[in-house]
Assembly symmetry: none
Homo-oligomer: 216 residues x 2
DNA sequence: TCGCAACCGGGAACATTACCCTGGCATTTT
DNA sequence: AAAATGCCAGGGTAATGTTCCCGGTTGCGA
């Protein structure tokens, strides 16, 4: 392990990078700080500078954060990546870890956590936001991602899912399918349960995300 | 105008604040930097410290950014607020300006822009991201249908619209805003009426279309 | 044949929403 | 000054939607 830890910051917002750079510089453990504003350049910079830790944001244009992680690891298998995201949803955590990230923290954490996580990972460890890790452990039975959840719907459920996703009311959907609104309601409940959402609105947004309803 | 500019940072993420604080400290024009993690505390801190400029994030729990701006200005009419948001949608810009903000920049801007904007506003000027300002000018002629309808929402309605659009239930939204669920329900009805949709799901999809909720 | 899972829907309890109406407050009009 | 308008918060009630629990049907594979 190096005396000082060299870090590569990957975030598409220059101001954000500037902020973290300034903050990290205050720590005596941090050495050089490199910056990249997207996955592609991060890859090149990594090859040239071989930093100890990569701190990466998830939401980026071009190849997103996740894909960037995969590419980076494809070329540099022992690259240590810390995801530093605003998202506290478990899906992101599991995907990031699955993609090969060594750690995951959110911007809700105390500032010092960033330093701690970077150090831990530089030493070869892993660091996942304790709160998220706990949630993860609890819901490990349900750790499939959204696509898998959608696939788990029965054929009929999927039909109804598609209809409800367009924003129609339960009653309208029932008329459309010549069913009792109770039936549609019951299916709806089962679908929401399977997909892990609480409201029909969330269901609609999820469907929109997956292109099941076109919403351009 | 003061020799050095004192700044109040309002953002719910401590790391984010730490980053900007560290970055701003590097500038010779910036003096004291205060921090608040939500609208309520921002109000109190402002009264005590009377900073020259308030740098405020928009997305915050409790009273959101927009409502915080209104409260702050309600008590301190000549308070200078710079909105510093991740959102580059025009709706937010117009809302923020209408609420009384003196400037609006996004996190996509170059780091120096933050300093520039803070200085400009401290001197009594205004600063709106040039790109957004241009779009604003162009699109003011082109605002058709849905966009117009969204604009027709009253300030409070827009707040509630944004919340409901994320898929939360009326009850959750009410708790988040510390309102009776009846009130939120009533507003919700009015909003759906104004936007010409029948269900909250449709509302969510509409908001997603307009980038008011991020759903990528 | 048995077990199982998908499917349809009834009934009751509960939650949410629609609709109407009051009241406060601020702005604008007369 | 007085009246009118518009926004905001919320109570009451009726309609509507949702959940949970249940029984029934069908089809399929062991």
């Amino acid at each position: 392990m190096p005396d000082k830890i060299n870090v590569l910051l990957v975030d598409d917002h220059a101001v954000v990078r500037a902020g973290y750079k300034a903050y990290l510089s205050l720590s005596e453990h941090i050495g050089q700080i490199y910056e990249a504003e997207r996955g592609e350049t991060a890859c090149q910079l990594y090859s040239r500078q071989l930093p100890d830790v990569v701190v990466m944001d998830l939401s980026m244009p071009g190849l997103g954060g996740l894909e960037s992680i995969r590419r980076l690891l494809g070329r540099h298998a022992n690259c240590k990546i810390l995801v530093f995201s605003i998202h506290n949803e478990l899906v992101y955590v599991t995907r990031a870890i699955k993609a090969g990230a060594k750690g995951y923290i959110t911007k809700s954490n105390a500032p010092e956590t960033l330093i701690t996580a970077v150090c831990t990972i530089a030493e070869g460890g892993t660091y996942v936001d304790p709160e998220l890790a706990q949630q993860l452990a609890i819901s490990s039975a349900v750790d499939q991602d959204e696509t898998a959840k959608i696939k788990s719907l029965s054929p009929r459920e999927f039909d109804i899912f598609c209809l409800l996703a367009t924003g129609v009311s339960t009653r309208e959907a029932a008329e459309n399918l010549c069913l009792s609104y109770k039936t549609v309601g019951n299916h709806g409940t089962a679908i929401k349960e399977k997909l892990g959402v609480k409201t029909l609105s969330e269901l609609a947004l999820l469907a929109s995300r997956h292109g099941i309803v076109k919403n351009a």
